[in-house]
Assembly symmetry: C2
């Protein structure tokens, strides 16, 4: 009735549990006859090792945890896809935990990971970083991705949102636009703020007047923000959205209002989520290789875990991802020749 244990196997095979363990883990040497007997018993009982028990002994779970604020939209799915890929090829399991609104919530999630994972990747714009991650996770290796460019000396991967935003705005400026509006992300979000600051700086540097409408990173909010602008009779020459989804929302709002993109208003987003290349006009954006970044995060966490158990120290603490400008039709009308970089994206069902 109950699942077979290693002892059942040992009994049936007339050997000790140690031998069974040796056969199954590959550690140590076992005589061929013994090995056969064990394997037969395993087969007969359809025995499957209990990973939980194994973890308790070995002190390794072969699992990494990911703490996310949310799971909406393509950004996170792409990120997780990359992480899953890397985890898989490293023989690790991935445990995801999302929807952590406030810091204490995220903290609890981190806590509950103790004894469940070998390391953690934390994306938590709401979490004030290092402190929490450190105290709560015990001696658990943690890789931060919560967007703070000014983190403590803690392993992290951050996106240069500030610089990326400047590049985006400069692209629009170079197109001759001066009246450029910005649709900003959610208030508390650090990355949103950095992008907004980059926008403001670039505008100031060009002697332009910043014009900011609030959004919350969702497509719907971008749509609303754009509608609001148009309703007020404001007709900017260009719009720089805090992320792609809001840019898409703005795109649709303008379509509804009969405003032509990019002829009347040029649009640039941020992230380069798969959908950016699929809307029409295709969206110009600041590309973050999202899946690749996720892959990289796991990769770094793995070495972190290794170096932690080896007692070694980490070399490159902070890794900065520099977004790259992808010009598509939403900012340059005849960008057909330029936008060969539109990636093809898959789907399943």
């Amino acid at each position: 009735m109950k699942p077979a244990t290693i002892r059942d196997v040992a009994d049936l095979a007339k050997v000790s549990v140690a031998s069974v363990s040796r056969v199954l883990t590959g550690a140590g040497v076992v005589a061929e006859p013994t090995r056969m007997k064990v394997l037969e018993a395993v087969e007969a009982l359809s025995y499957v090792p209990h990973s939980g028990a194994r973890s308790l002994s070995t002190n390794r779970t072969d699992t990494v945890g990911v703490i996310l604020p949310d799971l909406f939209g393509e950004f996170f799915s792409e990120l997780i896809r990359g992480m899953d890929l890397a985890a898989r090829s490293a023989g690790l399991h991935l445990i995801v935990s999302s929807s952590h609104d406030d810091a204490s919530d995220a903290a609890a999630a981190i806590r509950s990971m103790r004894g469940r994972v070998d390391g953690l990747i934390v994306l938590s714009p709401h979490l004030d970083a290092a402190n929490l991650a450190a105290n709560l996770a015990g001696r658990l290796p943690v890789l931060l991705m919560n967007g703070g460019m000014n983190e403590a000396g803690r392993p992290s991967i951050v996106v240069d949102n500030h610089g990326g935003a400047r590049v985006a705005v400069e692209h629009l400026l170079s197109l001759g636009h001066r009246h450029i509006a910005h649709i900003g992300g959610p208030k508390g979000n650090l990355e949103a703020r950095e992008r907004q600051e980059g926008y403001v700086e670039a505008m100031r540097a060009a002697g332009g007047q910043p014009l900011i409408v609030d959004g919350d990173f969702t497509q719907a909010s971008g749509h609303r923000a754009m509608q609001a602008l148009l309703a007020e009779g404001v007709r900017p020459e260009a719009v720089f959205a805090g992320n792609d989804m809001m840019a898409v929302g703005a795109l649709l709002a303008m379509q509804d209002a009969g405003v032509r993109v990019p002829d009347d208003v040029a649009v640039v987003g941020f992230d380069d989520v798969p959908i950016a290349a699929l809307v029409r006009p295709a969206l110009s954006t600041m590309r973050i290789e999202i899946a690749e970044t996720g892959r990289r995060a796991v990769e770094r966490l793995v070495t972190l875990i290794a170096s932690t158990s080896d007692g070694g120290s980490e070399s490159d603490i902070r890794e900065v991802i520099t977004p790259r400008l992808i010009v598509r039709a939403s900012s340059v009308g005849d960008a057909a020749a330029l936008s060969l970089a539109a990636p093809s994206t898959g789907d399943r069902s």
Copy 2:
């Protein structure tokens, strides 16, 4: 140096580990003074319970596993989002395992879940279902979502792909189209086959001639398939794609070729992934409440787990999801009034 254990806490608080355990789990009764001492010690040592060890004792991991074939596209991310939501509200962790090409691969993944999860949700179109899931997972509760309408008497949630496809095709027929092409999903995929069969049947029933082009569920394949059709000089009146991503690909291919949708060719997809409402023309499709389905899957797994430990039996074995036709502009030109159902989708960064 090493993380504190329950014993450290007990020592510091001058009580037994049993009392500490009682305080932390809430089980049993503890005198107030004792409880205080324990909590203080916990605080002082910043002790966090080791969930792995706890699991070994309680025989519960409070974790459910999800086996997926892939992680591409919005379908899976939506599904996972729904699952995460449900898991979270049930106090469960979610461990995802994807990219299992062949059956043996998926089997290994399932095996490795032993002792790590309390139950499993298996989506594996490649896996020949019940057998593997059953034998490999031991006495682990398993909820199947591998698309087999003809499963053994095993708890499952399936989509009525066959019926959904018929409805889609009948919608196109009702619009007066007779020459309807189908872009099919990947060969080995059961759901793709069911949809294709539904298409063929509906066509036959209407006295029409089926025309099938192969795809693989990716946007790129839909694009290629449509290009191929047009290149051959074939100009159907309508296209029913095996899923939304291929439909989007077809949409773009036609746009590139100067074919107008829906005036020249009407298009219907399947799934209603978020992007379906965002492309232009917005895509008519067969809606599966994807996230909701994921939520429901976890919900059922939870009751399954409960009933398994209670020794009770499951009532409704197979649950069928019936896709609903969503008419948007890609099939009916002036569908503006009809397509109020376009859901707004979020994104983060």
